[in-house]
Structure formats: C-alpha cells, structure tokens
Symmetry: C2
Subunit: 260 residues, 2 copies
DNA sequence: TAGTGGTCTAGACCACACG
DNA sequence: GTGTGGTCTAGACCACTAC
C-alpha cells in the first residue's frame, strides 16, 4: 500500500513536482508563504487546471505544518478563485483564466496599467459649503465645509473624463500640483487612509453642449456617468464623486467573484 | 480588578446585552450561528457602530466555544465589512451602512427585489453556429453549435433592456415558456450550475433607429451596454451575453468591498 | 506593562461523495 | 467502506498598540 503510493508519486504530474520552501524565521506567515508558492505553481503552469491538490492531511505532513495552517493557505486561494474544494472529492485547480477580481478601481491606475499615460488638469480645488446630496453622501451637516475638486483626465492628450469630487475638508492635504501628476486614491493611500468599501452607480446620458465642449465631443454624444461614495475601514465616508466619461473612449471592465 | 470588570458590564451597552443561543445539535455550524446572531445584533441596533466587541478569549469563554471558532465567526463578519479588527486595539462595529457587497447580479432578480415586477418576452430561442467573438468567449470552436437567446425585459409594461445571450447547447434545457416567467440565472441555478465568476464590460452608446424602436426610445437616446461572460465553479464558460439597457430607466448600482 | 488580535499546533469527530 | 473536506477543541507563543 505505502510502497504503491510512493511508486505512483513519480508519475503524478502536478503537486508532487512542486518544491516548497518555507521559512519559519520569516515574518511572513507560513500559510501565506504556502499560498504564494501554490499560486506561483498555478500561474507557472506546474499545477494545471483540473490537477488534484491531494488531501490536506498528507500535504500538511509533507510540509511539516499543521492541517489548519495548510487549510488556511488553501482557503485563501479558494477565496481568490484559483482553487475549488469539494467535500468527499478533493481540491482542484480551477479550469480557467480568472485574472483579477474587481477592485475598488482608480481611473488613474486603470489607465496607467493599460499603458495610457494618463495626465490630469485640475480645474478647481477649493472649499465650499456642502449641498444636500454631498452632505448626505459624506454624512456631514448640510452647508458644512467640504473640499471640491474638479479635474479633467487625459490620455495621449485627449480628454477622457471629467471628475468632480467632494472630500471632508482637512482629511488630507490636497496639493494641486500633486493632483496634476498622480491620482486621488494614491494620495489617500499615502496619507494613511485605507479604502474599505464603496457604493457606486453607473449610468449613461447624452452630452449637453457644455459637457461636449469640455470633453471634445459633439452635443448628444453618449456619456458614461458614475457616482461613487468611498468609505475607509472605520466606515467613515472619505470621498464622494460624480464622474463623466466619454463612452467613445472608455468603458468599465471588471471581473466578479461570487461570494458564497 | 475582576470585581471592577463585573460591575462595569452592567453599564456597558452593546455586547453584554446580547443573548446568544447556540444549538450544538443543529446542522448549522456553531461559527455560523454565532455570526448570524452577531449580524442580527448589529442590524437590530443592539450593537451600534463603534461598539467594541470585547476580546476574543473572554467571548469564547462566555459562549463555551473555543477561540478559533469565535474567530471564524468574527472573521466572516469582517469579510462582510460589518466589523473591523485591529491588533492591539480590538474589534469594533463599522461606522456605516455597508449593505450588500457586489453580487454577480441578475437583471431579473435586481428588478424583482426593487419591486419592479419584471416580465420577459422571448424573441428568439434557437441554436446556431457560433461567431468568432461568441466562440472565443465560450471557449468553443468557431462555428460550433450554441443556443442563441434574445429577450426583451419589461417593468410595468415598459421595455427596459434587450438581452442577447449565448450558451453551450445542451448545457441545460431552455424552455421558452419558463424563460418568459423567470430569469436565466435562476434557471442555471436550478439546473445545478453554480456561477462562480464573470468578466463584464459596461459602456454606453447612442441608440440606432432599430434599437430605439425595439426599446421604445428615440433614435440617438443614451443606452447602457454590457457584455458579460460567466463561469461556473470549474472555470467553464457557461454564458456569454450582450445586453442593452435604456439609460433613462436603468443604472447599475452596487457596493464594492476592498479585498485585503 | 498589560491587553489585544495574529499565528500555529496536534489532535478529534462528523458529513458527504464515490466505488 | 474509504477517503475527502468541514468543523471543533484547548492550549501556545508572538507582534502590535496603548498607557
């Protein structure tokens, strides 16, 4: 029985071929090290779709880890959509190219990763009393002071979007020069504000004459609209924005994972 | 010290007031029972934003559970965005109204939960050879047989969307009569197909004369467009669709959680 | 220094799928 | 039946935060 198993391992493609290197002195948790190496093996094609991962108990013995630790590593990849577990069956690599789950995306980052070399022109950057909708979105009293930000975003010198954002005044320094060379979300991050969730609405409408002029479109052209309120990890609203995109030059593209 | 603690509990609003009822004979896991009751306490306002949950060890003693079990319950609520944990600080109820995370949403279900009484008219339901884009999306050979579905979705008797879907033929029975009274995703679910992920693109354009006529709009009206490919839990593509929505009557509205 | 969550262990029993 | 993942226990030590 045992001899048979050992003899078989040499013919098993997949997990048996993976070399794991766990460093107990590293500050990186063991389950995370294991998850990273499993993910690398999947990305690198060593573990191919449909490959069984073998049962958790054997794996934990082989790695010298406890089963809960191995489970935690596997679970994180299941959450990422790379693995599927079935009771009584086993753990398998998922069959397809699920790339990145939906992120709370920043237009600036999206454009940059798409190689679009985004640039920004700041049209307004000043404080003003909050209108009713802004106050409601940010959870502050109507008429309270907010910072109003209006920006035009360009790619290759052509306008793509008109961005209007409202933030609680004093939340972070909003230097106009810095806003011209980076994205708002990056500035939030580097100010120590971790975004946690957001509520957004995506719609469409035809461009008014003013909007058309601003975005270098014809009047009546299709525009994508987005309103978003973003919250930090304590649940405090940190940003409300109404954005307008040229539909001829931009579309929202994202991956969803079903939460079980 | 201990006396002081006990004396304080009576003045502590929040967790101390919550009565937990755990049933060890239930098939529902203990961590899930606990998570549900904590969630109910938050929804019901017994635990209010900012309330500390108290340390995990005390809670596990009080409940007669092990700490890992309590942690699992708390973690599930952290994943849902209801709680925040900070090392050295504690666990707190999040400060805002984060309601539902983004789901792989079905238009039919969305409309129904909004009380819009959706109805459907099936325009086409037949098999045809797959065009290049459809074949690529579904991962089948070009010219391979697919089922083509064209539907109009109404609310209160007015058209909202034109839905065109492609599915691998034979994946499930697609009875036209049933499609008229329910949604495609419900039929997939009841056929034992669990959706796992999807890739979607949302854009906008102006209505052509034909589209305008079909959706009871004027030519040139703004339309929202969505293309989506959905995958089941083995990573197999089970559905590809191109949808068109009247922007005057529909917008995408959803909540995002940042995945840490 | 004291208290918190973060990580990890070494077991155990159960429910479910498959042959 | 046999093997799988699902759940649960009762401890342990560490890293971080706040005072």
């Amino acid at each position: 029985m045992w001899a048979g198993r050992d003899a078989m391992t040499s013919t098993v493609s997949g997990l048996a071929a993976v070399r794991f290197a766990l460093d107990r002195t590293s500050p990186v948790p063991l389950y995370h090290q294991l998850a990273q190496q499993l993910e690398a093996a999947i990305e690198g094609g060593i573990l191919t779709p449909g490959n069984h991962l073998g049962n958790e108990v054997d794996l934990s013995v082989r790695l010298g880890l406890s089963r809960p630790t191995v489970r935690q590593a596997i679970q994180s990849l299941v959450d990422k959509g790379l693995l599927v577990r079935r009771r009584g069956v086993g753990t398998q690599v998922v069959h397809s190219q699920v790339k990145r789950p939906l992120e709370l995306s920043s237009l600036y980052d999206d454009l940059e990763t798409a190689g679009q070399q985004p640039t920004t022109r700041v049209l307004h950057n000043e404080t003003a009393p909050a209108a009713a909708d802004v106050a409601a979105a940010l959870g502050i009293p109507e008429g309270g002071e907010v910072t109003v930000l209006e920006r035009l975003r360009f790619t290759h010198g052509h306008p793509v979007a008109f961005l209007c954002n409202y933030l609680p005044t004093g939340l972070l320094p909003l230097d106009t020069d810095r806003l011209q060379v980076t994205g708002l979300y990056r500035m939030l991050r580097s100010a120590g504000i971790t975004l946690h969730s957001a509520r957004q609405t995506i719609g469409a409408r035809c461009a008014t004459a003013q909007e058309a002029a601003r975005l270098d479109e014809k009047e009546g052209a299709a525009l994508l609209t987005m309103q978003r309120t973003a919250y930090d990890d304590t649940g405090r609203a940190v940003e409300y924005g109404t954005h307008i995109y040229r539909a001829s030059r931009y579309a929202f593209d994202f991956q969803l994972l079903v939460r079980p």
